[in-house]
């Protein structure tokens, strides 16, 4: 089985779709609140990305395990309870072991509960596929989300604070564009990232 054959396995395809073509942020337009709000510093983006990847994997796995039992009528509430449980666990672990990042993320970590990516993957994939493939899908979507956040955050942190992961990277005369740390900066940089990503991945335009 050559390395090439892996490209056609279901697991790999599940992973790659979330990672690139069907990227949650740029293609499906999901999970945007956090992509805008926590990308002011790279460390926050990494923490958020890690949190989402973890919760996505565990919740997609759990929902996939239960998929035969979940009543169709109440499936949304089941997704929410499952996702909320794991988000609370991650939130508590951050508060206990990474208190400064927990403070920096504030309510946004808890808002992973309403992050459309998790519900989206649960409904679109985990309910219809076995646990292993659901994990691959979750990993792909989660990492796709994470790298988008980190890229946006890199630009925002350098422009707004002159640092990258708290190391000063700008020359002495640099005037910080603090507006990049606030809402307008988030919107503008996100729009540019979206534009570049969509142009390079040749996705179908959103509107004609």
């Amino acid at each position: 089985m050559g390395l090439n054959k892996i490209r056609y396995t279901k697991s790999f395809r599940a992973f790659m779709s979330g990672f690139w073509k069907d990227n949650a942020i740029c293609s499906q337009m999901l999970g945007l609140c956090s992509a805008l709000a926590v990308t002011n510093k790279v460390e926050n983006a990494i923490a958020m990305g890690a949190g989402v990847v973890f919760v996505l994997i565990v919740s997609s796995f759990s929902i996939s395990l239960m998929r035969g039992l979940i009543p169709a009528r109440y499936r949304i509430i089941v997704y929410m309870i499952t996702i909320a449980t794991f988000v609370i666990i991650v939130d508590q672990y951050f508060k206990a072991y990474f208190p400064s990042i927990s403070k920096a993320l504030g309510p946004y970590l808890a808002l992973i509960i309403t992050n459309c990516i998790l519900m989206g993957r649960a409904e679109a994939y985990a309910m219809k596929n076995n646990p292993w493939h659901s994990i691959c899908d979750a990993l792909g979507s989660g990492l796709g989300y994470a790298y988008s956040l980190i890229i946006i955050a890199s630009f925002r942190e350098v422009l707004a604070f002159g640092t990258f992961l708290n190391f000063k990277v700008t020359p002495a005369g640099w005037e910080n564009l603090v507006v990049m740390a606030m809402a307008p900066g988030a919107f503008f940089l996100f729009a540019i990232y979206l534009w570049v990503f969509r142009t390079f991945s040749k996705l179908k335009p959103l509107e004609s």
């Binding site: 508590q92 808890a110 808002l111 335009p205």
Partner: protein, 196 residues
Amino acid sequence: MALSPLMIFLAAIFTHNIALSYLLGMCPFLAMSRQLNTAFGMGIAVTLVMVITAALNWPIYHFILVPTNSQIISYILFIITIAASVQLLEMVIERFFPQLQNSFAIFLPLITVNCTILAVSLFMLLRDYSFIQTVFFAAGSGLGWTLAITVMAAIRGKMRLISDVPTQLRGAGITMIIAGILALAFIGFSGMMRIQ
């Protein structure tokens, strides 16, 4: 707390707008801001649900969770309240306001996953608001979000008529840029209110 309910209400609309300052509720903000009446309808629905759930979650937290030391399950109870309120609202509209059903009913399922609703309850905890403050905060946040999405829809409507947006910037991209300009404009409100 330092702030009067009226101050909290006005701040939530202008100086600390939940969409343009806190960057919440972005998914529906993008999706529902194409048409003016859709946007406005969504905004009002969100405001209603926000106020109802905030009014329910405050007593649930302070009278049930705190005395029994079970704050750990706060978020789960909050989202259950949200889901239940949405269901209830759907049923009420179906029964008593059937004429609204067509315009409102499609939004309601989407509201359950609108992060602004949960965020209002989270801020209520973080800032330790009293009940009155919470209700005013919820109303203000909802109306602020409505204001943002309605203005956005109006602008997008006009742009469709007169602008030529680059292909890959259409839809979400240009909406984000407009939102950025709106956010900049709203920052101009910052000095608007003085307490002392």
